[in-house]
Symmetry: C2
Subunit: 583 residues, 2 copies
């Protein structure tokens, strides 16, 4: 919000009655309202744009734009910051130099671990970050009540509290089963959001036909789960704005933009998001700038692509008076770039402050300052011995259900396998690439262990485990044998959360994520290096996945088809119920 | 708002678990999200759209769309209903058959007369009308504090109260002088609106350059005062959404749409309004449908024009979850029309109810049911005798200031005249076409009479008077002699407001507007006929104006240049101060 006194400053500055704080001279301004580009000079006061015609105005400071294009900062419309492994503070260096100036974040992970208090602690630095952190309040904590144990919950009261914050701009992605199941609690959350003038984000993964329509009837305003162009068009037809997603594993941009370009589809109801993108991918590829540039390469006009990354998002989220354009009164979030064919942000300004230059953050983000209790969330009461992972069966073999991974997707397929029973225990079979999979409850509540099997990791020895395990974030562990699985769980307890890989009774590598078991407060470069190391170790065990810890973290999700494993057991997602491990 | 139980009905109906209330079969659906047209069948439940693919669904009722185009109902984004002379209830028959299903109305006139209570009474039938009446809360009541006496005021507290209503969707058009003058009360109203997630409507009449930019810095979101295409582009450049206006006197559509078509300007940030349109013009020309059709004639694509009249408006006002498209969950406000080259609404549905057919309203609007006190707002303590209109002067003649009318405009010019002084009183001079003009305070507060002169009516005998006198709505009376002026005032008191014309001591005609002195609850056809009769009488007195009562109602406005007369005297608008009647 802008104070009345700030507002007066802007107005007075616009009339030349007060000097500006900053002028950015000599720029080609991309106007996302007219869709045109005009020579201009940005005038900035109290962190906001005053005018694009500031040439004759006095200013305390001047910056030479050197003829660059000036465009509004980019907006990521749906992201789980707490899935990046990096704190919001440390994330600054990964995203801001790429021109991202607003993250519309759903911190559902930390809420699943630590409830409302964890949520508040996580976003407590909001106002001090060198980007806008705005909140999509998690609508489904827990994601699958009754089917999983979580550390925290956000009920209707907690959600209403967060919805009332000015920094909260929507109700976060609602699980279709809650809508189609006519669940009062969730429909009340929709009602609460709309009563406050805020939108409801969708999550229409895999929905088609009548189910998609019914979901839209639930009051959803958008969807970021489009995999194909046809998905995108189907959603637009239902009045659902499309947020194209390009994360680390979900790569939806190319097919959708190809269709848009081919059909010359109006992009005004489309925008961008990453949902989940790992720090190494952010470092190598970039962030929303990558999506803008890829869209341009695929034939979209630069103006359309920039609008998708700015005003379309701001207007959809009803914050177009605050961000999304270089027009009077909006935050002065500015990217300067040499050309529009491939946008490389030379300079980035946020709230009128020069925050990044030539790909580097040039301000210090606030320190990562979290309460002690958020560093102590792993309380393991079982899973520390091999015996805990025994799946009992009689006879020489057993017919089991297997979670079959799709390459580069978070969805999976139901498969089956015939496995050996050794000493009354159904065991993994590396020849079939079938590992034993377990989810160990880690909030000290009940010591549950859910057991199943997974195909696709390739591992021939050892085990790997993670406390990043959507969305309940218990410990998920996959292994060729039970002993190494127990080694992983013990190591995870010791480091209070993170990634561990072990073989032959030894921990081979680990990345501590001690904040809620989800995040590290260490330098981003250290995190990335350790992540690369873990992947290498996985490959040394003949693991074949490019990002095995990303993959494992989604097998635990009881809401993405077909199957998800929680501490309570195997969940058939479409039926929304627990099913046994055996066929 | 939609209740949770209604929401459940929609979802269940979408899944085929409950029958629909209504199916509109065999239509070509205009989808304003994709910008495409597809064969479909509208499914409606609880007044909302469930699906456009209802072919296989059961429904309590079916309507044969006969292959017509189905499009969302049209939205008037800025209108003063209380300037139409017709109650919101009776207005239904003039607008709904033309496909208008939502009026975004700023009832500032009734608020000037009767304050918050009058405002509430005026909109009390909101939920029962056969169209959506949504509120732009008047930001400037009174318009010119200190320079006029009004019956009511809306201060910050009252505005905040109304802003909190779900039916209130914005802060109504803010006077630029309040913004550029850095007036706390008005900037606090802007802050209050934005804090509630609501937008602020602009009124950037005549603003250019730095003043326009400064006004945008004030938090304005749009403007409906663009006269030329260049005005429109200038506003879009500042992030101000453009509402093109086509009212009874202000005719801005053609030049703007011509420019849009010529430059192929993106229309996504443009929409339509009428501001002030008389019932006879609504009857003859139509309403938003007229603007849509005129735009198509001028070369705009029908889809663009329909989007301007629907989704663009809904999205701008942040009510796209409620209206503006034929997509799941939105109110079933539907127009059926044979073709898109010239859209004639054959059938109109509002909230799923068939409300108009072949140009006629086919439902009964609610009765006009206003409290007794709103029928008794004219309390005259002076102006009932000729002596009250004496303007004293010594000598044989006096040099006076004259308000010189512009044909077909609400602006006027400062002129001067030399007038005879008879018995110490400056008198009118029909030879120079200079009438005496008076504004008589009519709220029983102080008995003020403001006196001046006006040129342009042509009247050779008699006087005419009105309680529609923007924006203070005291009694304005222009006459060739003081006795007839007093006759008019006495008649106005008797009918408790309206239009009166008199000559030679006799009332020749009158149109009672007893609701707040602004509106009639009589049938629209009677109002139009009486209005025509009054104009004829005026012509019989050699009056030369086509709509003398429209003209006289704007001379009282102390905010439109050059001059305005209030009960406190003559106001120089640009100087924003009272000036004497003499040169």
């Amino acid at each position: 919000m802008i104070t009345i006194s700030e507002r007066k400053s802007l107005i007075a500055a616009a009339m030349g009655q007060e000097p500006l704080d900053l002028r950015i001279d000599n720029v080609q301004v991309v106007n996302v309202y007219t869709g045109t580009i005009e020579a201009g000079c940005l005038g900035i006061k109290a962190g906001r744009i005053v005018t694009v015609d500031a040439n004759t105005f006095e200013a305390a400071e001047r910056f030479d734009g050197q003829g660059c294009y000036a465009m509004p900062g980019f907006i990521d419309t749906h992201v789980h910051i707490d899935s990046t492994l990096v704190t919001p503070e440390n994330l600054s260096e990964l995203i801001v130099p790429h021109g991202t100036t607003a993250m519309l974040a759903d911190p559902m992970e930390v809420a699943n671990v630590a409830g409302l208090e964890g949520f508040k602690a996580f976003v407590s630095s909001m106002g001090k970050l060198p980007y806008h952190l705005l909140i999509e309040v998690s609508s489904r904590v827990p994601t699958a009540p009754g089917l999983e144990t979580t550390g925290g919950e956000l009920g209707l009261a907690e959600v209403k509290e967060i919805l009332s914050w000015p920094e909260c701009i929507s109700l976060g992605e609602l699980d279709p089963s809650k809508v189609l199941g006519l669940r009062d609690e969730y429909l009340a959350k929709v009602e609460a959001a709309q009563a406050l003038g805020k939108i409801c984000n969708g999550h229409a993964a895999g929905l088609t036909g009548h189910n998609l329509v019914a979901y839209a009837c639930g009051g959803m305003a958008d969807d970021h789960e489009c995999v194909t162009y046809e998905d995108a068009v189907a959603r637009l037809r239902q009045g659902l704005v499309v947020s194209i997603r390009e994360g680390s594993t979900e790569r939806n941009l190319e097919p959708i933009i190809n269709g848009v370009v081919r059909d010359n589809l109006d992009t005004r109801h489309m925008m961008f998001c990453t949902d989940d993108k790992h720090p190494d991918d952010l470092l190598e590829e970039g962030h929303i700038d990558y999506m803008v540039n890829r869209s341009i390469e695929l034939g979209l006009s630069p103006i359309d692509a920039i609008q998708m990354a700015s005003i379309n998002a701001a207007k959809h989220f009803r914050i177009d008076h605050l961000i999304g354009s270089l027009t009077p009164g909006r935050w002065a979030d500015v990217i300067l770039a040499d050309n529009l064919e491939h946008i490389i942000p030379n300079d980035v300004f946020v709230k009128g402050q020069h925050v990044a230059q030539k790909g580097k953050l040039i301000v210090d983000p606030p320190p990562s300052d979290y309460p002690e209790w958020l560093y102590n969330t792993v309380k393991v009461t079982s899973g520390k011995t091999a015996a805990d992972f025994i799946l009992s069966a009689t006879g020489p073999t057993a017919e089991v259900t297997v979670i079959d991974l799709y390459p580069d997707q978070i969805i999976n397929e139901v498969e089956q396998a015939t496995l050996q029973v050794v000493d009354g225990n159904v065991v993994a079979d590396t020849a079939q690439d079938v590992l034993k999979l377990a989810v160990v409850e880690r909030y000290g509540k009940n010591g549950n262990i859910g057991l199943s099997f997974v195909r696709g990791f390739g591992l021939k020895r050892g085990a790997l485990a993670s406390t990043v395990a959507h969305d309940h974030h218990n410990i998920i562990v996959a292994g060729t044998n039970e002993a190494d699985m127990a080694v992983c769980v013990r190591a995870i307890e010791q480091i209070q959360g993170g990634f561990v890989i072990a073989a032959d009774g030894e921990v081979l590598g680990q990345l501590p994520l001690p904040i809620a078991g989800l995040l590290s407060d260490q330098p981003v470069s250290d995190i990335i290096r350790e992540l690369e190391n873990l992947t290498k170790i996985s490959h040394s065990l003949e693991g074949k996945l490019p990002a095995p810890f990303m993959t494992i973290s989604f097998i635990s999700l009881p809401t993405v088809p077909e199957l998800g494993l929680t501490d309570k057991g195997l969940v058939n997602v479409r039926q929304h119920q627990l099913v046994g491990p055996f066929r």
